[in-house]
Symmetry: none
C-alpha cells in the first residue's frame, strides 16, 4: 500500500536509533528504567513541545528479534518475509563486499580436544591472534574446486568466511555444537542442492584445521549462519528518499548496505556521527543514526552505563534537531533490559518529534509511552508515521 502513495519532497527524516533502548522497571534502581532514570532535559523538552510518543512491537508480540529483523522492521519491512542471515550480517559488518551467489558464514576460533569442543571462543582470543591465524589460513587456502575462499578477521575470536563460486547454496546446518563440552560437528547439507557447498565447507575445515593444528591458542573452527545476500526492495526506491546511514559498528553499516542505503564515513564517536550528519544533511532526505552502546550496556546488565549512554545522546539532540529535520524519531530496534542481560520481546518506546504542532506533552519514557497517542504499533508501521508527518504520503483512494 505504502509504495502506491509515496510523494517525493525534500523534507528530512532522521531515525536516531539507540540499539536495545527499551527496558523494564528495575527494582535495584527504585523501579525505574534507564530511560526514566536518565537526565535527558533536551529529549524531554522536545518530547513535551513537539513530540508524540508510543510503543512499537519490533516483530511480533512476545518475539525477541535479532538485529536483522529488528532493523528490517524499523525501516518498514516485514521481517518475516526477508531474512538477513548471520553470515551475511557479519560479512557486511566487516565491510566485506558480497556478490550475488556468495555464501557467507560466521566463524569462531575454538579449542577442541579428542573431538570435543572445549571453548567455543578459544578464551576470547585476542584480535591480533585472530588476524595472524586468519592470514595464515588465507595464505594457504585460496580456492577449493573452483570456489574462492575469502577470509576476514573480526574482533576477538570472530572471523568470516565467504565462499565465492558457481552453484553454491546456503542450505547448510551449523558446524557448531552451540555449547562447550559437546562433540565437534561439521556443517551438513539440508537439501540436495547444498551437497556441493557442504563438501567445499568440510574440505575447507579439514585443510584449515591442518594449517592451525600446531597452534596453542586455538585449534578449531566453528561455522554458523551460512547465508546469502537476501533480495530486499531497496529502501531508497521504496520510499523515494535518498537514505544516508551513519553507524560506528560495522554490522549496522552492513544492514544499511543491504537495504541499499548510502553508508557514509567510518565514525568512531557520537560527535563524529553528528559531524557526518551535518556534512550530508543537504544530500539526503532520510538519515539513520545508530548508537550501539545502549544495547551493550543492556547485555552487560549495567543499568548505570545504559543510563549514561542515554544522557550522552541527549547532549547531541539539540544540534541534531537544530539542523531542521521535519521529523526526528528516537527509538530502539528492540529492547535489551538490563535485568535480562539480552535482547527481549518488550515493546520499544518511540518518540516522534515533528513540526506539525501535534504533541502528547509528556516526557519520553516507557511508562508514558503506554498512554501516548501513537499507541502500540508494529515496528514495520513506524516509518509510515514518519512519512506521513513529513508530507511524503498521498491520500489513499478517492
Amino acid at each position: 500500500m505504502i509504495e502506491s502513495v509515496i510523494l517525493k519532497n525534500e523534507k528530512k527524516i532522521i531515525f536516531l536509533v539507540l540499539d536495545g533502548l527499551g527496558d523494564i522497571p528495575d527494582r535495584r534502581f527504585s523501579g525505574k528504567t534507564p530511560l526514566q532514570a536518565a537526565k535527558k532535559p533536551n529529549i524531554d523538552q522536545l518530547s513535551r513541545e513537539y513530540g508524540i510518543i508510543g510503543r512499537m512491537i519490533p516483530v511480533e508480540i512476545g518475539i525477541t528479534p535479532g538485529s536483522g529483523p529488528g532493523h528490517l522492521s524499523l525501516f518498514g519491512y516485514d521481517a518475516s518475509s526477508y531474512e538477513i542471515g548471520r553470515g551475511v550480517l557479519e560479512a557486511l559488518g566487516l565491510d566485506m563486499e558480497l556478490e550475488d551467489g556468495d555464501v557467507a558464514v560466521r566463524a569462531n576460533f575454538c579449542t577442541k580436544k579428542d573431538g570435543i569442543v572445549l571453548d567455543r571462543r578459544a578464551g576470547r582470543l585476542r584480535s591480533e591472534e585472530t588476524e595472524r591465524i586468519c592470514a595464515m589460513i588465507s595464505e594457504r587456502i585460496r580456492e577449493i574446486d573452483g570456489v574462492r575462499i575469502i577470509i576476514k578477521p573480526g574482533k576477538s575470536h570472530r572471523f568470516v568466511v565467504v565462499f565465492r563460486g558457481e552453484g553454491l547454496s546456503d542450505k547448510l546446518t551449523d558446524g557448531d555444537p552451540h555449547k562447550d563440552g559437546l562433540p565437534y560437528v561439521y556443517p551438513e547439507p539440508k537439501d540436495e542442492g547444498a551437497l556441493f557447498t557442504a563438501k567445499i565447507a568440510k574440505e575447507f575445515l579439514f585443510k584449515a584445521h591442518e594449517v592451525i593444528s600446531s597452534e596453542t591458542v586455538a585449534n578449531g573452527i566453528l561455522l554458523r549462519g551460512f547465508s546469502m545476500k537476501p533480495k530486499i526492495p531497496p529502501f531508497q526506491e521504496r520510499y523515494g528518499m535518498g537514505a544516508c546511514a551513519i553507524a560506528t559498528f560495522p554490522m549496522y553499516r552492513g544492514i544499511s548496505k543491504i537495504l541499499g542505503m548510502d553508508v557514509v564515513g567510518n565514525p568512531e564517536t557520537y560527535e563524529q556521527m553528528v559531524e557526518l550528519l551535518k556534512l550530508n544533511f543537504n544530500k539526503y532526505q532520510f538519515f539513520f543514526l545508530h548508537v550501539k552502546e545502549t544495547d551493550i550496556a543492556g547485555e552487560d546488565g549495567d543499568f548505570e552505563a545504559k543510563k549514561e549512554v542515554i544522557e550522552r545522546v541527549d547532549k547531541l539532540v539539540p544540534e541534531i534537531w537544530g539542523l531542521g529535520p521535519d521529523v526526528l524519531v528516537i527509538t530502539g530496534d528492540h529492547s535489551t533490559p538490563c535485568a535480562l542481560r539480552g535482547h527481549s520481546w518488550h515493546p520499544v518506546p518511540v518518540l516522534i518529534v515533528n513540526r506539525l504542532g501535534e504533541t502528547d506533552s509528556l516526557p519520553f519514557d516507557e511508562r508514558n509511552c503506554i498512554v501516548g497517542s501513537i499507541g502500540t504499533i508494529y515496528g514495520r508501521n513506524l516509518i509510515n508515521l514518519a512519512l506521513a508527518l513529513s508530507a511524503k504520503l498521498d491520500k489513499y483512494g478517492a
Copy 2:
C-alpha cells in the same frame, strides 16, 4: 471469519458518522481538539453511563484515506481489496445512477493553448458556466458508436461523464497532465480490453473540444479516474441485517448504494435525518447516519465551526438513543484536523454506547479514547464490536 458466525436478530445498531471527526490538539485553542472543546453534555453523559471508547485506524497506520476507503473500513470491508474509483465516487456524489458496465470519469474544464494546458481548472469556472457548457455538450453529443454519453455538471469547473454501453473497460490512463503548463494528453488504454473505450473517450474529447472551441472561459476537458462500479459483497447479506442509509450529501448515499444499503429520503437538515431514522426504525436493523459538516469545517481549518457541528449533533443524540437501539456508535470515517485542513492518518475516536452495562465511565474525546477499553483497532474491525454488543455473533469454533 465474521460471515461464519452471524446470527440474525431484531436488535438495532446505529452508526452516527461525523465525517472527519478526529482531530489533533490545536495550540491556537488552548491545546484542545474540537471534540474536547465542544459542549456535548448528552454524548458525554451517554459515554459515561453506557459508553466504551477507543480509537480506530481507518485503513493503515500513517495512511490518509479518501472517503471511499474510509467508509469501506467503517462497514467492515478491507479497503485494500475493494476500490471505489474517483469517477464512480464523483458520479455517486452527483446522484447519478450507475448501471453495471458503466464507466464513469471525473472531468474538469480547463484552458489550453497550442497543446499546452494553461489552467487545469479554467480559473475555477463558475458553476453556472459549467452547467451551461455541459448542457451544450450534452445536447450535441448523445452517443458515439452505440455508447451513450451522460454528462452531469458538478460544482465549479467539475463535471462527470458516464459512458454507457456494451464492452466498456475502465483500464484507461488519465487524460490529464496533472500539472499546469504541461502538454495536453488523451486517455490511453492500459490493456487490449480497453482499446474500444479509449477510442470512444478520445472521440468524445475531439467532438466536445469542437463544441466548446469558441468558448472564452474554457476550451478543454480533462478526464481522470476512469472507473466502474466495484463488485463488493452486499452489506445486508454479509451481516444479515437490513441496512438503512441516511445522508445529506449525495456521495455518501452513493457509497451506501454501492454496498447495497437502502438509501432513504433526501434529507437536507439533521432534524430531517432523525425524522427519517424514526420513520424507518422498525424496518431495519442497521442505520448509517452521515454528518458531513465536521469534515468541511476541518478542511476549512475552522475550529469553531467543527466544534459547533459537534454541539449541534449532541442535541440530537437523546432522541436517537431514545429510539432504543442496542448499540449506538459515534465516530468518523477518518480524521480531518483543522490544523492540517485536510484528511489525515490520525486515529479516529470511537464511542460505542451499549446496553450491556459495560462502560469506561469517561467523556468522549481523543485523549480519553487513547486509554479506553476498545483500545486502538483497525476500522474494519469496528463493526465486529457493534455486532457482538447486539448479540449478532455466535461463538467461533467449538
